[in-house]
């Protein structure tokens, strides 16, 4: 059974306005690394806020771990299963000491204090921030603050981690810190990761990419399939990563045999093989 099931979801922020989401259906499997991409205003963040019941459907249904998000009795339970990290690192930190911040979630869940201690330590280790346990959050970099926000979620032992443009305000180094941690949590801890982003290079290692356009799912598939349709991506206000753009150009010029590689290293390899094949090196 899917861990999140979205069924014919439509959502309006205002009664009269244009729907932010219309007739979206999506099944997310346990253990999946899913990326959701889309232009500004495509509805991707609105969709993300349905995954933990922050928003509930105007029509249609969303089930998280089998629970209907529209049923208020499920609200707390759902939030326990789904950890969310948002865009602005400065808006998510509530205390003045890192480890207190990480403990905030489990404290509110009524977890016994020795168990909290254990969870906080584990969470800080998984995001590589153990040595900052006693630090003041405002002295940390953006990437470090986002890692603390993720640790705060992990301490609640969620099954699902939703990163809602969590890398948008970070520099390349901070972005890499967060994507590396997301991959690790997915591979090693089996946490289902849903990553909402505008950076196309961050989705190359997702299991599946969902492309949103004007409140609808435009198309989806694994990264190789999605990036092979550059015209469709451009039509959705997106683009392919630069390495894929180079790949496409070379293929188009018959300077490279067709390949569906999307990773920069893989593409470099393919180009190198072409040099070997043509006897240049």
């Amino acid at each position: 059974m899917a861990i999140i099931s979205v069924q014919d979801l439509t959502f309006n922020y205002t009664e009269s306005g244009f729907p932010a989401l219309s007739n979206v259906s999506l099944e997310i499997e346990k253990g999946e690394f899913l990326a959701i991409v889309g232009h500004n205003g495509s509805g991707k963040s609105t969709l993300a806020k349905h995954f933990n019941g922050l928003l509930t459907p105007t029509s249609g249904k969303v089930y998280v771990c089998g629970m209907d998000t529209a049923d208020e009795n499920n609200s707390l339970d759902i939030k326990r299963h789904v950890g969310m990290v948002f865009q602005n690192p400065d808006n998510q930190i509530v205390t003045t000491v890192v480890e207190d911040d990480v403990a905030f979630g489990p404290e509110n869940l009524g977890v016994p204090s020795d168990e909290i201690r254990k969870r906080v330590d584990e969470a800080l280790v998984s995001v590589g921030m153990k040595k900052y346990a006693q630090a003041a959050p405002h002295m940390l970099s953006g990437g470090q603050k986002q890692r603390i926000a993720i640790a705060g979620m992990l301490a609640m032992h969620p099954d699902i981690l939703v990163l809602d443009e969590a890398t948008a305000m970070l520099d390349p180094m901070g972005r890499r810190e967060i994507t590396d941690i997301a991959r690790k949590l997915n591979k090693e801890n089996g946490i289902t990761v849903i990553m909402i982003t505008q950076h196309m290079d961050e989705v190359t290692y997702a299991d599946r990419v969902v492309v949103m356009k004007n409140g609808k799912i435009e198309f989806e598939g694994d990264p190789k399939r999605v990036f092979s349709q550059s015209a469709r991506l451009t039509g959705a206000g997106l683009d392919v990563p630069p390495a894929v753009a180079l790949r496409n150009k070379l293929i188009c010029e018959h300077a490279l045999a067709p390949t569906n590689a999307v990773d920069t290293e893989e593409i470099t390899d393919d180009i190198y093989r072409e040099f070997v094949k043509r006897g240049i090196v």
Binding site: M169, L170, D171, P172, G174, G237, P242, L246, K249, E253
Partner: protein, 283 residues
């Protein structure tokens, strides 16, 4: 004529336990008409540096002049400031007027221009950033989309016709289409206004594509300064200080490591694609 920074130093919370030297003996000249990209990771001093360019911050030691105007002098600073247009990160959060038109006219009004002149400036600026005057002038800035709001904020600076346009991460937070549009706007602004551009950016691919000169900051100092193709040749050094390399330079590096002799200085996808096509198609 230029923005000149001579031996500029600035330390935050000096004399305290949190004292942090953000700028250490900075010497930098930005010439008229140049397109300079300022790169460096978070905390390297980029924003502190550009805040000195229009006198928003005053150096604790050293000197900043704009076209010879000493920015530490209150009167001269006022004049200098009209020549250096600053667009901060997420400038759309600074829109405050009732209408787009009024917001854009705020700067020119403060410069003492007449209503007619202001209106002319507003029209010109809106056209330059690609916002239709008829459609947007009387709208509330809050009814605009994120990308449109950013354009409106940019127009507010353009309306002062700066000689030097300083942009702090103008593409941050925009989707790929929005990023491309802002970049194209910056390129066309520069040729229309004949102004110099100083752009802080984390996107090395964009920097490689549109800048002429790159200044690299690290821990409050300028560690590299040169032409784009020159700076991006030093991939090892850039990696050492934790910076990204343009994708094209990374692929070219990878090919070199595998034994293909790609010439130095290729750092855009266009140039690399042209080169590779030429090499591969000969055979």
């Amino acid at each position: 004529m230029a923005i000149e920074m001579k031996n500029v130093c600035y330390t935050y919370m000096d004399d305290s336990a949190f004292s942090h030297a953000a700028l250490k003996d900075i010497c930098l000249t930005v010439n008229e008409n140049e397109f300079v990209a300022l790169i460096g990771h978070t905390g390297s001093g980029k924003s502190t540096l550009i805040s000195h360019m229009n006198g928003l911050m005053q150096p604790q030691s050293g000197k900043v002049t704009v076209d010879g105007l000493d920015m530490s002098d209150k009167l001269k600073r006022k004049e200098g400031r009209t020549r250096v247009g600053m667009v901060f990160q997420y400038p759309e959060y600074q829109l405050f007027e009732e209408t787009v038109k009024k917001d854009i006219a705020f700067g020119p009004h403060n410069m003492g221009l007449s209503d007619e002149e202001c209106d002319e400036r507003v029209r010109e600026a809106m056209e330059l950033v690609g916002l239709s005057y008829e459609k947007f002038a009387d709208k509330s800035p809050f009814d605009l989309s994120g990308g449109e709001r950013r354009r409106a904020a940019l127009a507010g600076i353009i309306a002062m016709r700066p000689k030097y346009l300083v942009l702090d991460e103008p593409m941050a937070g925009l989707d790929p289409m929005g990023r491309r549009r802002i970049l194209d706007t910056v390129i066309s602004l520069r040729s229309a206004l004949h102004c110099a551009v100083v752009m802080v950016s984390h996107s090395m691919d964009d920097v490689a594509r549109i800048a002429e000169r790159v200044v690299v900051m690290h821990e409050g100092s300028i560690v590299m300064d040169g032409a784009v193709s020159e700076v991006f040749t030093h991939t090892e050094k850039l990696r050492e200080i934790g910076l990204e390399i343009p994708t094209a330079a990374r692929i070219a590096d990878g090919l070199r490591m595998r034994g293909v002799d790609v010439p130095k200085g290729i750092c855009t996808i266009e140039a690399l694609s042209e080169y590779l096509t030429g090499r591969l198609k000969k055979c």
